[in-house]
Protein backbone atom coordinates (compact mmCIF):
# COMPACT_ATOMS: atom_id res chain seq x y z
CA UNK A 1 0.00 0.00 0.00
CA UNK A 2 2.91 2.32 0.64
CA UNK A 3 3.87 2.20 -3.03
CA UNK A 4 0.52 3.71 -3.97
CA UNK A 5 1.25 6.73 -1.75
CA UNK A 6 4.51 7.54 -3.50
CA UNK A 7 4.45 11.14 -4.58
CA UNK A 8 4.31 11.89 -8.24
CA UNK A 9 4.20 15.12 -10.16
CA UNK A 10 0.89 15.78 -11.79
CA UNK A 11 -0.16 17.69 -14.83
CA UNK A 12 -3.00 19.73 -13.33
CA UNK A 13 -5.02 19.53 -16.58
CA UNK A 14 -5.87 16.02 -15.51
CA UNK A 15 -7.89 17.46 -12.66
CA UNK A 16 -10.48 19.42 -14.55
CA UNK A 17 -10.17 23.13 -15.09
CA UNK A 18 -6.45 23.52 -14.77
CA UNK A 19 -3.62 23.86 -17.19
CA UNK A 20 -0.12 22.49 -17.15
CA UNK A 21 2.56 24.32 -15.18
CA UNK A 22 6.26 24.76 -15.72
CA UNK A 23 8.45 21.83 -16.80
CA UNK A 24 8.29 18.95 -14.31
CA UNK A 25 11.06 18.28 -11.83
CA UNK A 26 11.79 15.05 -9.96
CA UNK A 27 9.28 14.34 -7.18
CA UNK A 28 10.09 14.98 -3.54
CA UNK A 29 10.24 11.87 -1.38
CA UNK A 30 7.32 11.42 1.08
CA UNK A 31 7.68 13.58 4.18
CA UNK A 32 10.21 15.91 2.59
CA UNK A 33 9.76 19.45 1.42
CA UNK A 34 9.38 20.03 -2.30
CA UNK A 35 12.83 20.31 -3.87
CA UNK A 36 11.96 23.42 -5.81
CA UNK A 37 11.76 25.77 -2.82
CA UNK A 38 14.12 28.62 -3.63
CA UNK A 39 17.06 29.01 -1.27
CA UNK A 40 16.16 32.63 -0.51
CA UNK A 41 12.62 31.61 0.46
CA UNK A 42 13.88 29.17 3.10
CA UNK A 43 16.32 31.79 4.39
CA UNK A 44 13.53 34.35 4.58
CA UNK A 45 11.40 31.86 6.55
CA UNK A 46 14.22 31.25 9.05
CA UNK A 47 14.80 34.94 9.70
CA UNK A 48 11.06 35.62 9.91
CA UNK A 49 10.51 32.86 12.47
CA UNK A 50 13.42 34.03 14.62
CA UNK A 51 12.22 37.64 14.54
CA UNK A 52 8.63 36.68 15.27
CA UNK A 53 9.52 34.59 18.34
CA UNK A 54 11.93 37.25 19.59
CA UNK A 55 9.40 40.07 19.16
CA UNK A 56 6.51 38.19 20.73
CA UNK A 57 8.69 37.08 23.63
CA UNK A 58 9.88 40.61 24.34
CA UNK A 59 6.33 41.96 24.02
CA UNK A 60 4.91 39.48 26.52
CA UNK A 61 7.75 39.96 29.03
CA UNK A 62 7.58 43.75 28.90
CA UNK A 63 3.80 43.66 29.22
CA UNK A 64 4.07 41.55 32.36
CA UNK A 65 6.64 44.00 33.77
CA UNK A 66 4.26 46.85 32.89
CA UNK A 67 1.01 45.44 34.20
CA UNK A 68 2.57 43.99 37.35
CA UNK A 69 3.97 47.39 38.27
CA UNK A 70 7.52 46.03 38.34
CA UNK A 71 8.45 48.95 36.09
CA UNK A 72 6.23 51.93 36.71
CA UNK A 73 4.45 53.38 33.67
CA UNK A 74 4.46 57.01 32.54
CA UNK A 75 0.66 57.02 32.43
CA UNK A 76 -0.87 55.42 35.53
CA UNK A 77 -2.81 52.37 34.40
CA UNK A 78 -5.97 53.45 36.18
CA UNK A 79 -5.97 56.76 34.24
CA UNK A 80 -5.80 55.12 30.80
CA UNK A 81 -9.59 55.25 30.26
CA UNK A 82 -9.30 59.05 30.37
CA UNK A 83 -7.18 59.02 27.22
CA UNK A 84 -8.00 56.15 24.89
CA UNK A 85 -11.15 57.84 23.53
CA UNK A 86 -9.15 60.84 22.26
CA UNK A 87 -7.75 61.12 18.76
CA UNK A 88 -4.02 60.54 18.67
CA UNK A 89 -3.01 64.23 18.47
CA UNK A 90 -4.98 65.17 21.58
CA UNK A 91 -3.90 61.98 23.35
CA UNK A 92 -0.20 62.74 22.82
CA UNK A 93 -0.63 66.35 23.88
CA UNK A 94 -2.57 65.45 27.02
CA UNK A 95 -0.22 62.64 28.02
CA UNK A 96 2.84 64.83 27.54
CA UNK A 97 1.33 67.72 29.49
CA UNK A 98 0.13 65.62 32.41
CA UNK A 99 2.68 62.81 32.73
CA UNK A 100 5.65 62.66 30.35
CA UNK A 101 6.77 66.31 30.46
CA UNK A 102 9.04 66.17 27.41
CA UNK A 103 9.88 69.23 25.33
CA UNK A 104 7.93 67.71 22.44
CA UNK A 105 5.15 65.14 22.20
CA UNK A 106 6.41 61.57 21.75
CA UNK A 107 6.04 60.81 18.05
CA UNK A 108 8.42 58.98 15.74
CA UNK A 109 11.24 57.32 17.66
CA UNK A 110 10.99 59.70 20.63
CA UNK A 111 9.56 56.84 22.72
CA UNK A 112 13.16 55.59 23.04
CA UNK A 113 13.80 58.44 25.45
CA UNK A 114 10.98 57.18 27.69
CA UNK A 115 12.07 53.56 27.97
CA UNK A 116 12.43 53.79 31.73
CA UNK A 117 8.61 53.66 31.86
CA UNK A 118 6.84 50.30 31.74
CA UNK A 119 4.30 51.36 29.12
CA UNK A 120 6.89 52.70 26.66
CA UNK A 121 9.04 49.62 27.24
CA UNK A 122 6.34 47.64 25.41
CA UNK A 123 7.25 49.51 22.23
CA UNK A 124 10.45 47.46 21.99
CA UNK A 125 8.60 44.21 21.22
CA UNK A 126 6.25 45.95 18.80
CA UNK A 127 9.19 47.49 16.95
CA UNK A 128 11.00 44.15 16.73
CA UNK A 129 7.86 42.62 15.18
CA UNK A 130 7.66 45.53 12.75
CA UNK A 131 11.31 45.56 11.78
CA UNK A 132 11.76 41.84 11.12
CA UNK A 133 10.52 42.15 7.53
CA UNK A 134 13.24 44.67 6.73
CA UNK A 135 15.85 42.27 8.14
CA UNK A 136 14.37 39.44 6.06
CA UNK A 137 14.77 41.38 2.81
CA UNK A 138 18.28 42.48 3.70
CA UNK A 139 19.08 38.87 4.63
CA UNK A 140 18.08 37.41 1.25
CA UNK A 141 19.77 40.14 -0.79
CA UNK A 142 23.21 38.42 -0.96
CA UNK A 143 21.56 35.18 -2.06
CA UNK A 144 19.65 36.95 -4.83
CA UNK A 145 22.81 38.69 -6.02
CA UNK A 146 24.79 35.45 -5.92
CA UNK A 147 22.10 33.83 -8.10
CA UNK A 148 22.27 36.85 -10.44
CA UNK A 149 18.56 37.34 -9.85
CA UNK A 150 18.91 41.07 -10.36
CA UNK A 151 15.21 41.80 -10.88
CA UNK A 152 14.33 40.42 -7.46
CA UNK A 153 17.39 42.00 -5.88
CA UNK A 154 16.11 45.37 -7.07
CA UNK A 155 12.62 44.58 -5.74
CA UNK A 156 14.14 43.61 -2.37
CA UNK A 157 16.13 46.85 -2.21
CA UNK A 158 13.06 48.93 -3.13
CA UNK A 159 11.01 47.14 -0.47
CA UNK A 160 13.69 47.88 2.13
CA UNK A 161 13.67 51.53 1.07
CA UNK A 162 9.87 51.77 1.41
CA UNK A 163 9.83 50.05 4.79
CA UNK A 164 12.82 52.06 6.04
CA UNK A 165 11.16 55.30 4.95
CA UNK A 166 7.97 54.29 6.75
CA UNK A 167 9.96 53.28 9.83
CA UNK A 168 12.09 56.42 9.84
CA UNK A 169 9.18 58.68 10.64
CA UNK A 170 9.94 60.88 7.64
CA UNK A 171 6.53 60.08 6.20
CA UNK A 172 4.08 61.79 8.52
CA UNK A 173 0.36 62.29 8.29
CA UNK A 174 -1.15 65.74 8.37
CA UNK A 175 -3.26 65.10 11.45
CA UNK A 176 -6.99 65.54 11.91
Amino acid sequence: MRESRTLERVDPTRHGDVDSGPPPTPPAPPGELPRSIPQEQLLYARILAAGMYTGLGILLITFVLYISGAISPAIPIDRLPDFWSMDVARYLEAVNTQYVHHDHILTGWAWVSALEHGDYLNFVGIVVLSIVTIICFLGILPTLLRKRDYAYAVIAVLEVVILALAASGVLTAGGH
Binding site: R5, L7, E8, R9, V10, D11, P12, H15, G16, D17, V18, D19, S20, G21, P22, P24, A28, P34, S36, I37, P38, Q41, L42, Y44, A45, A49, G55, L56, L60, D78, L80, P81, D82, F83, W84, S85, M86, D87, Y91, L92, I105, G108, W111, N122, F123, I126, L129, S130, I140, Y152, E159, L163, L165, A166, G169, L171, T172, A173, G175, H176
Partner: protein, 319 residues
Amino acid sequence: MVVLLFLALIEPTAAWAAQEGPLADAGAVGSADATATAWWFWPAVLFGMTFLMGILAAVGGVGGGVLFVPIVSGFCPFHLDFVRCTGLLVALCGALAAGPGFLRMNLASLRLAMPVALIASACAVAGAMVGLALPTNVVQTALGVAILGIVGLMIRARKSAFPAVRAADRLSQVLRIHGVYMEASLDREIDWKIHRTLTGLLLFIGIGFMAGMFGLGAGWANVPVLNLVMGVPLKVSVATSKFLLSITDTSAAWVYLNEGCVIPMMVVPSLVGIMLGSFIGVRILRVAKPGFVRWMVIGLLLFSGGKAITKGLGLPFII
Protein backbone atom coordinates in the same frame (compact mmCIF):
# COMPACT_ATOMS: atom_id res chain seq x y z
CA MET B 1 -21.26 40.83 20.38
CA VAL B 2 -22.02 38.21 23.00
CA VAL B 3 -19.50 39.85 25.30
CA LEU B 4 -20.92 43.29 24.65
CA LEU B 5 -24.45 42.16 25.35
CA PHE B 6 -23.28 40.42 28.49
CA LEU B 7 -21.53 43.59 29.60
CA ALA B 8 -24.58 45.65 28.83
CA LEU B 9 -26.50 43.48 31.27
CA ILE B 10 -23.99 43.58 34.10
CA GLU B 11 -22.76 47.15 33.60
CA PRO B 12 -25.12 49.07 31.37
CA THR B 13 -23.53 52.49 31.92
CA ALA B 14 -20.20 51.38 30.58
CA ALA B 15 -21.63 49.43 27.69
CA TRP B 16 -23.90 52.22 26.48
CA ALA B 17 -21.29 54.89 27.09
CA ALA B 18 -19.06 52.94 24.75
CA GLN B 19 -21.49 53.31 21.88
CA GLU B 20 -20.84 56.99 21.47
CA GLY B 21 -17.38 57.05 22.97
CA PRO B 22 -14.86 57.54 20.19
CA LEU B 23 -16.54 60.46 18.46
CA ALA B 24 -18.65 62.07 21.13
CA ASP B 25 -16.21 61.99 24.02
CA ALA B 26 -13.03 62.68 22.12
CA GLY B 27 -11.82 65.32 24.48
CA ALA B 28 -13.50 64.34 27.69
CA VAL B 29 -10.50 63.91 29.98
CA GLY B 30 -11.67 62.40 33.20
CA SER B 31 -15.25 62.43 32.07
CA ALA B 32 -17.86 60.59 34.07
CA ASP B 33 -18.21 57.93 31.36
CA ALA B 34 -14.50 57.28 31.18
CA THR B 35 -13.99 56.99 34.91
CA ALA B 36 -17.18 55.08 35.67
CA THR B 37 -15.50 51.75 35.07
CA ALA B 38 -12.36 50.12 36.34
CA TRP B 39 -9.32 50.52 34.04
CA TRP B 40 -9.21 46.79 33.33
CA PHE B 41 -12.82 46.64 32.18
CA TRP B 42 -12.40 47.52 28.48
CA PRO B 43 -9.04 45.71 28.05
CA ALA B 44 -10.82 42.63 29.45
CA VAL B 45 -13.70 43.17 27.00
CA LEU B 46 -11.15 43.59 24.22
CA PHE B 47 -9.52 40.31 25.20
CA GLY B 48 -12.90 38.54 25.21
CA MET B 49 -13.94 40.03 21.88
CA THR B 50 -10.65 39.22 20.16
CA PHE B 51 -10.79 35.70 21.57
CA LEU B 52 -14.20 35.22 19.91
CA MET B 53 -12.91 36.91 16.74
CA GLY B 54 -9.96 34.52 16.67
CA ILE B 55 -12.36 31.57 16.78
CA LEU B 56 -14.65 33.04 14.12
CA ALA B 57 -11.74 34.04 11.91
CA ALA B 58 -10.22 30.57 12.01
CA VAL B 59 -13.51 28.75 11.45
CA GLY B 60 -14.96 31.30 9.02
CA GLY B 61 -11.83 31.54 6.91
CA VAL B 62 -11.28 35.29 7.26
CA GLY B 63 -8.43 37.29 8.75
CA GLY B 64 -8.76 38.73 12.22
CA GLY B 65 -8.04 42.29 11.06
CA VAL B 66 -11.16 42.65 8.98
CA LEU B 67 -13.31 41.75 12.00
CA PHE B 68 -11.26 43.69 14.53
CA VAL B 69 -11.42 47.25 13.22
CA PRO B 70 -15.15 47.61 12.49
CA ILE B 71 -16.27 45.74 15.60
CA VAL B 72 -13.88 47.29 18.11
CA SER B 73 -14.22 50.81 16.68
CA GLY B 74 -17.98 50.44 16.59
CA PHE B 75 -18.64 49.00 20.01
CA CYS B 76 -15.69 49.95 22.26
CA PRO B 77 -14.66 53.38 23.56
CA PHE B 78 -11.22 53.30 21.93
CA HIS B 79 -10.54 55.96 19.29
CA LEU B 80 -10.34 54.81 15.70
CA ASP B 81 -6.68 55.93 15.47
CA PHE B 82 -5.65 53.38 18.12
CA VAL B 83 -8.02 50.72 16.81
CA ARG B 84 -6.58 50.90 13.29
CA CYS B 85 -3.01 50.60 14.56
CA THR B 86 -3.93 47.70 16.84
CA GLY B 87 -5.85 46.07 13.96
CA LEU B 88 -2.76 46.24 11.77
CA LEU B 89 -0.58 44.78 14.51
CA VAL B 90 -3.10 41.97 15.07
CA ALA B 91 -3.09 41.13 11.36
CA LEU B 92 0.70 41.52 11.24
CA CYS B 93 1.29 39.09 14.12
CA GLY B 94 -1.05 36.53 12.58
CA ALA B 95 0.89 36.81 9.33
CA LEU B 96 4.27 36.60 11.08
CA ALA B 97 3.17 33.49 12.94
CA ALA B 98 1.87 31.72 9.83
CA GLY B 99 4.45 33.00 7.32
CA PRO B 100 7.49 30.83 8.10
CA GLY B 101 5.48 27.58 7.96
CA PHE B 102 3.79 28.51 4.70
CA LEU B 103 7.11 29.49 3.12
CA ARG B 104 8.79 26.26 4.20
CA MET B 105 5.91 24.20 2.78
CA ASN B 106 6.15 26.20 -0.44
CA LEU B 107 2.45 27.07 -0.06
CA ALA B 108 3.40 30.74 0.14
CA SER B 109 5.54 31.85 -2.78
CA LEU B 110 8.16 34.51 -2.14
CA ARG B 111 8.57 35.11 -5.89
CA LEU B 112 4.86 35.80 -6.21
CA ALA B 113 4.67 37.86 -3.03
CA MET B 114 7.62 40.20 -3.61
CA PRO B 115 6.39 42.21 -6.62
CA VAL B 116 2.87 42.29 -5.17
CA ALA B 117 4.16 43.38 -1.76
CA LEU B 118 6.25 46.15 -3.26
CA ILE B 119 3.15 47.78 -4.75
CA ALA B 120 0.80 46.99 -1.86
CA SER B 121 3.17 48.19 0.86
CA ALA B 122 3.94 51.49 -0.90
CA CYS B 123 0.22 52.11 -1.30
CA ALA B 124 -0.48 51.01 2.29
CA VAL B 125 1.89 53.73 3.51
CA ALA B 126 -0.01 56.27 1.41
CA GLY B 127 -3.32 54.92 2.68
CA ALA B 128 -2.20 55.15 6.30
CA MET B 129 -1.09 58.75 5.83
CA VAL B 130 -4.37 59.71 4.18
CA GLY B 131 -6.37 57.83 6.82
CA LEU B 132 -4.63 59.66 9.64
CA ALA B 133 -5.03 63.04 7.93
CA LEU B 134 -8.75 62.73 7.30
CA PRO B 135 -11.35 63.59 9.96
CA THR B 136 -12.38 60.59 12.06
CA ASN B 137 -16.03 60.68 11.03
CA VAL B 138 -15.07 60.56 7.34
CA VAL B 139 -12.79 57.56 7.88
CA GLN B 140 -15.42 55.85 10.05
CA THR B 141 -18.09 56.30 7.39
CA ALA B 142 -15.75 55.17 4.61
CA LEU B 143 -14.81 52.16 6.75
CA GLY B 144 -18.48 51.20 7.00
CA VAL B 145 -18.89 51.47 3.24
CA ALA B 146 -15.72 49.42 2.70
CA ILE B 147 -16.92 46.74 5.12
CA LEU B 148 -20.27 46.46 3.30
CA GLY B 149 -18.31 46.19 0.04
CA ILE B 150 -16.24 43.39 1.54
CA VAL B 151 -19.45 41.61 2.55
CA GLY B 152 -20.65 41.88 -1.05
CA LEU B 153 -17.33 40.45 -2.24
CA MET B 154 -17.53 37.60 0.27
CA ILE B 155 -21.05 36.70 -0.88
CA ARG B 156 -20.41 36.95 -4.61
CA ALA B 157 -16.79 35.88 -5.10
CA ARG B 158 -16.28 32.28 -6.12
CA LYS B 159 -13.13 30.35 -5.49
CA SER B 160 -11.30 28.01 -7.78
CA ALA B 161 -9.06 25.33 -6.33
CA PHE B 162 -7.09 25.01 -9.58
CA PRO B 163 -7.78 27.99 -11.84
CA ALA B 164 -7.29 27.43 -15.56
CA VAL B 165 -4.14 29.17 -16.76
CA ARG B 166 -3.69 28.40 -20.45
CA ALA B 167 -0.31 30.10 -20.67
CA ALA B 168 1.84 32.17 -18.37
CA ASP B 169 1.91 35.80 -19.45
CA ARG B 170 5.11 37.56 -20.48
CA LEU B 171 5.59 39.51 -17.25
CA SER B 172 5.28 36.45 -15.04
CA GLN B 173 7.69 34.61 -17.36
CA VAL B 174 10.23 37.41 -17.05
CA LEU B 175 9.85 37.41 -13.27
CA ARG B 176 9.79 33.59 -13.25
CA ILE B 177 6.69 33.49 -11.06
CA HIS B 178 5.64 29.86 -10.93
CA GLY B 179 5.95 27.07 -8.47
CA VAL B 180 5.07 23.66 -7.21
CA TYR B 181 3.33 22.63 -4.03
CA MET B 182 2.22 19.44 -2.35
CA GLU B 183 -1.54 18.93 -2.66
CA ALA B 184 -2.30 16.62 0.25
CA SER B 185 -5.85 15.85 -0.89
CA LEU B 186 -4.46 14.43 -4.16
CA ASP B 187 -1.21 13.19 -2.62
CA ARG B 188 0.62 14.80 -5.50
CA GLU B 189 2.67 17.85 -6.30
CA ILE B 190 0.93 20.49 -8.38
CA ASP B 191 2.69 22.82 -10.77
CA TRP B 192 1.25 26.30 -11.07
CA LYS B 193 1.84 29.40 -13.13
CA ILE B 194 0.00 32.70 -13.42
CA HIS B 195 -1.51 35.04 -15.98
CA ARG B 196 -2.91 38.61 -16.01
CA THR B 197 0.04 39.62 -13.83
CA LEU B 198 -0.11 43.32 -14.67
CA THR B 199 -3.86 43.52 -13.95
CA GLY B 200 -3.33 41.78 -10.64
CA LEU B 201 -0.48 44.08 -9.66
CA LEU B 202 -2.55 47.15 -10.49
CA LEU B 203 -5.41 45.88 -8.33
CA PHE B 204 -3.02 45.72 -5.38
CA ILE B 205 -2.70 49.49 -5.54
CA GLY B 206 -6.25 49.79 -4.23
CA ILE B 207 -5.93 46.86 -1.86
CA GLY B 208 -2.80 48.25 -0.24
CA PHE B 209 -4.29 51.70 0.06
CA MET B 210 -7.41 50.39 1.80
CA ALA B 211 -5.37 48.17 4.12
CA GLY B 212 -3.36 51.17 5.26
CA MET B 213 -6.23 53.60 5.44
CA PHE B 214 -8.57 51.42 7.50
CA GLY B 215 -6.05 49.23 9.32
CA LEU B 216 -7.64 46.13 7.83
CA GLY B 217 -5.72 43.00 7.02
CA ALA B 218 -6.25 42.62 3.29
CA GLY B 219 -6.80 38.87 2.99
CA TRP B 220 -10.40 39.47 1.92
CA ALA B 221 -9.08 41.09 -1.29
CA ASN B 222 -5.70 39.39 -1.70
CA VAL B 223 -7.16 35.93 -2.11
CA PRO B 224 -9.75 36.75 -4.82
CA VAL B 225 -7.21 38.73 -6.85
CA LEU B 226 -4.48 36.09 -6.60
CA ASN B 227 -6.88 33.22 -7.18
CA LEU B 228 -9.46 34.51 -9.65
CA VAL B 229 -7.53 37.21 -11.52
CA MET B 230 -3.98 35.88 -11.56
CA GLY B 231 -4.87 32.18 -11.59
CA VAL B 232 -2.95 31.09 -8.51
CA PRO B 233 -4.23 27.83 -6.95
CA LEU B 234 -6.48 28.48 -3.97
CA LYS B 235 -4.18 27.07 -1.29
CA VAL B 236 -1.20 29.01 -2.63
CA SER B 237 -3.38 32.14 -2.82
CA VAL B 238 -4.48 31.83 0.80
CA ALA B 239 -0.96 31.12 2.09
CA THR B 240 0.71 33.81 -0.03
CA SER B 241 -1.98 36.30 1.00
CA LYS B 242 -1.33 35.56 4.66
CA PHE B 243 2.42 35.96 4.17
CA LEU B 244 1.85 39.12 2.13
CA LEU B 245 0.16 40.75 5.12
CA SER B 246 3.42 40.53 7.05
CA ILE B 247 4.90 42.99 4.53
CA THR B 248 1.90 45.19 3.65
CA ASP B 249 0.77 45.64 7.23
CA THR B 250 4.31 46.31 8.43
CA SER B 251 4.62 49.34 6.17
CA ALA B 252 1.27 50.79 7.26
CA ALA B 253 1.87 49.91 10.91
CA TRP B 254 5.07 51.97 10.89
CA VAL B 255 3.13 55.09 9.91
CA TYR B 256 0.71 54.57 12.81
CA LEU B 257 3.57 53.74 15.20
CA ASN B 258 5.41 56.91 14.27
CA GLU B 259 2.26 58.95 14.80
CA GLY B 260 2.06 57.55 18.34
CA CYS B 261 -1.09 55.45 17.84
CA VAL B 262 0.03 52.68 20.20
CA ILE B 263 -1.55 51.90 23.55
CA PRO B 264 0.06 48.69 24.83
CA MET B 265 -2.98 48.02 27.02
CA MET B 266 -4.94 47.60 23.77
CA VAL B 267 -2.30 45.86 21.69
CA VAL B 268 -1.23 43.01 23.96
CA PRO B 269 -4.70 41.81 25.12
CA SER B 270 -5.81 41.91 21.48
CA LEU B 271 -2.83 39.90 20.25
CA VAL B 272 -3.12 37.30 23.00
CA GLY B 273 -6.90 37.11 22.61
CA ILE B 274 -6.87 36.57 18.87
CA MET B 275 -4.01 34.07 19.03
CA LEU B 276 -5.73 32.00 21.72
CA GLY B 277 -9.01 32.25 19.82
CA SER B 278 -7.36 31.09 16.61
CA PHE B 279 -5.78 28.21 18.52
CA ILE B 280 -9.22 27.11 19.77
CA GLY B 281 -10.85 27.91 16.42
CA VAL B 282 -8.61 25.54 14.52
CA ARG B 283 -9.77 22.76 16.83
CA ILE B 284 -13.44 23.75 16.55
CA LEU B 285 -13.03 23.74 12.77
CA ARG B 286 -12.93 19.95 12.87
CA VAL B 287 -16.52 19.73 14.12
CA ALA B 288 -18.03 23.09 13.13
CA LYS B 289 -20.12 23.75 10.04
CA PRO B 290 -18.01 26.30 8.15
CA GLY B 291 -20.99 27.38 6.03
CA PHE B 292 -22.94 28.47 9.10
CA VAL B 293 -19.92 30.26 10.58
CA ARG B 294 -19.27 32.01 7.27
CA TRP B 295 -22.78 33.44 7.28
CA MET B 296 -22.34 34.40 10.92
CA VAL B 297 -19.18 36.33 10.00
CA ILE B 298 -21.02 37.99 7.11
CA GLY B 299 -23.86 38.95 9.47
CA LEU B 300 -21.37 40.34 11.98
CA LEU B 301 -19.62 42.39 9.30
CA LEU B 302 -22.96 43.69 7.99
CA PHE B 303 -23.91 44.74 11.51
CA SER B 304 -20.57 46.41 12.29
CA GLY B 305 -20.45 48.01 8.82
CA GLY B 306 -23.87 49.54 9.43
CA LYS B 307 -22.74 50.69 12.86
CA ALA B 308 -19.61 52.32 11.40
CA ILE B 309 -21.63 54.24 8.81
CA THR B 310 -24.21 55.52 11.29
CA LYS B 311 -21.51 56.37 13.81
CA GLY B 312 -19.53 58.27 11.19
CA LEU B 313 -22.62 60.17 10.09
CA GLY B 314 -23.76 60.75 13.66
CA LEU B 315 -26.99 58.83 13.11
CA PRO B 316 -28.70 56.51 15.60
CA PHE B 317 -28.17 52.76 15.28
CA ILE B 318 -29.96 49.71 16.63
CA ILE B 319 -27.65 49.67 19.66
